[in-house]
Amino acid sequence: MWRGESPGPSWGPLLALVLVLTLGGLPRVGGFEEEPGGAHGASQGFQVVTFKWHHVQDPYIIALWILVASLAKIVFHLSHKVTSVVPESALLIVLGLVLGGIVWAADHIASFTLTPTVFFFYLLPPIVLDAGYFMPNRLFFGNLGTILLYAVVGTVWNAATTGLSLYGVFLSGLMGELQIGLLDFLLFGSLIAAVDPVAVLAVFEEVHVNEVLFIIVFGESLLNDAVTVVLYNVFESFVTLGGDKVTGVDCVKGIVSFFVVSLGGTLVGVVFAFLLSLVTRFTKHVRIIEPGFVFVISYLSYLTSEMLSLSAILAITFCGICCQKYVKANISEQSATTVRYTMKMLASGAETIIFMFLGISAVDPLIWTWNTAFVLLTLVFISVYRAIGVVLQTWILNRYRMVQLEPIDQVVMSYGGLRGAVAYALVVLLDENKVKEKNLFVSTTIIVVFFTVIFQGLTIKPLVQWLKVKRSEQREPKLNEKLHGRAFDHILSAIEDISGQIGHNYLRDKWSNFDRKFLSKVLMRRSAQKSRDRILNVFHELNLKDAISYVAEGERRGSLAFIRSPSTDNMVNVDFSTPRPSTVEASVSYLLRENVSAVCLDMQSLEQRRRSIRDTEDMVTHHTLQQYLYKPRQEYKHLYSRHELTPNENEKQDKEIFHRTMRKRLESFKSAKLGINQNKKAAKLYKRERAQKRRNSSIPNGKLPVESPVHNFTIKEKDLELSDPEEAPDYEAETRGGIEFLASVAKDTASDSPAGDTGSDTPLIGHSSPRGGSPAVSQQPPLPARLPRPHAPSPAPPENAAPVPAARSSREPGAGPTQGAGPERRALPAAHARSAAARRVHSRRSFQRPRARRRPALLKLASLQPPGPAELPPHALEQEETPL
């Protein structure tokens, strides 16, 4: 129906004709139904079918418009070429203009316009809520200072300079006769000054600038609302009062009201976010309406602050920002998906409608008052002052920022200062009786909006390309680039972590402490608290402790030989990247290898066979590592996007690592403790993992489908439940069950005292000793530590000096030095392992939440850690399973 819009096809005119006819028909339908109404009154008898257009008119028209807008979007995206050049917002405005023209031609009244009520009450909130709820918090708060400066000072600067300059020009007489005073100009300046969140997002999303630049412009557009509201209200009331009566007190009041409006709006948002998080904590039995709460309460925050004449945009933004963490943790996976999709749908739809109606609203001869000087000068002033403001503020900011804003960034920021529907709605709100030249303001605002959205929106992409702003784009890199790029990404993120330059670490630490100690406890479900942060944190800490205690052990032994293990060295990420438990392939290839070295004496063929085995091994490693390989942070930093859903890779990966490792630990514990056939188990596990992977890969957000298999699994093997605490549907109860079960297992072996725990290792020896003879165990590389400290001070220079090629040899059992090291390690006094375990337990205790019920379970987990033969150091098990 709307294909008349798509520029290419030659049958366009024909369709346009059809379009005119249909649209022309619409009002005629309206006229037509008058008659049945009259007829209805005349004939008193019962009518089988009645035609009640009036009855449904309003919602019907609204629904039709929405349908039209949505269909238009489909059509736009049919041609990728068009949308890649012209921003969607511009296309929608043009479409709106055309539709408006048609309606007007047919009807000669502009019946459909974007009214401020509709805009502020129904269209804007979903967009802003969406922005807040999906706000990349870390990035946002990391740049908060910059954003605030631009939002507050920048907006005031824009408003003041634009208004004053226009007034200056007006005084010079260039604009002719206008009934305008200084205050009117300032009022106009204040409403035209604010960068518009809707327009900015719509355009920037398609440009893909780097994330810092994006968040600065985007954040500014959201936060400047408070300033706009205050300036607008202040000047409006000044205009009402009349210029002469404004006193200094009023100005002071204006400044005070800025703080009240902005802080008050934020506070309202935070309060409602708190409420929302609290409510979602208790929705366990009414899962189906969970998503509703998110929308209703956020919307209430908007309305409340509107009611209190605070900044509504700030309120709903902060409501979204603050609640996201807790809500996402509390609601079920399905509800979270629902919330995500609904929010995106509402926001995207609202944006579409806004732009289309901006176009339609412009087709109304009544509002047009042309004043060339005024319009042109406004355009010039807003662009020029925006640029000056950006340069000045950036100059100040760059003295304090770690990451400097380059001149190119500044150009984009100046150019990206798009105005949009907020300005339009505000200008329409003006009272014609007070502001005499309202129509001039309205037409100028429309021109400004169209100019910025269409012209700047069209040109910003080529501009960015021309300036070569660091774009976040994808290009298939060359092999070498890929190779080292990855490594450098890791290096850089390590350096960032060390220098802590990602944010205000001190404050953030304080905040996360506060959050963990108080907020999360109040706002999150217990199960969520546990599974979200705490266990992961404890887990991180534990692994670090293990690594450190390990090195200490090595030093005590006076030899750091084991550290030189090239296959495992540098894996500080001790347990995180441990390959899966004794994969079948690994042991098979081991057997093959064993045979080779035992039977074959022909060195050449031996070498060849080894090579081929090594290749298969590499394949295995490849798969394993693929699973455990986690990309450096840089690569999965993702931006807010209104139209696309990006699964949170980071979280997913964390959880996955955690689950895998935990599952593996439990597995190995079980096999050691209960004597379950290791190989069968491993095969099963492997199969399951494969299946899971397949499932994950087929579904973008690989969480939902995981549920049922895991569930099955948890039923079958009770004590593994803890490894998937979140996926189990009714997990709260089940996790508890699992813990209790574990705790009861633990009872006989583990007690709260470290001594008792050390004791618990003893029974393990007996059970696991048979495994000692299995190939898997003897294959283990002799190097217990993942913590490579090649330069650690050690009294063992010979080992350190030993040539590194041990890298490969450690995999091959025939290699001399490794075998030599083997017995040495085994001879390691059990006391060391025990003391390490004891220390671990001890450290674990300090991370415990003081909930007596859970503690045994975690303690038990701790005691699982050295599950192999007791004389092995804690990490021997992971080692033995490393196919590397």
Binding site: R399, Y400, M402, L479, K482, L483, R486, A487, F488, H490, I491, L492, S493, A494, I495, D497, I498, S499, G500, Q501, N505, Y506, H540, E541, N543, L544, A547, I548, P566, D569, N570, M571, V572, N573, V574, F576, S577, D615, D618, T621, H622, L625, Q626, L629, Y630, P632, R633, I657, L787, P788, R789, P790, H791, A792, P793, P803, V804, P805, A807, R808
Partner: protein, 154 residues
Amino acid sequence: MGSRASTLLRDEELEEIKKETGFSHSQITCLYSRFTSLDKGENGTLSREDFQRIPELAINPLGDRIINAFFPEGEDQVNFRGFMRTLAHFRPIEDNEKSKDVNGPEPLNSRSNKLHFAFRLYDLDKDDKISRDELLQVLEKVDVEQKMSIQFLH
């Protein structure tokens, strides 16, 4: 904490660091407060354990190598100067080659120094050569797929 940190850093020391590394005043104070917050022993130096306490670093496959890069041969403590010297390698290269001091030592963030630094990260045994194994070691931590392609190249 930030204010305490900046007072602890002596002015002349700050100047020297500024000269040596090219960091700005605010950057140095910033990093100094980070340094002190990492320094759990509060003895003005960082040990490997201090670095290993950074959680993100623990899951970084190359994290340990980076940590090693901070420690000069045979030492296990690094002071603020050394810390800054290593970090200086990561400053952007200054394009405007108005090198104030032509005779002076090359700035740490020069292209060749950066390359040297990167080279040392690969060169585990410090023999000034990157062997195939050393290369593979780095890369296999980073991406196996690519390691595979290297192997096929041979």
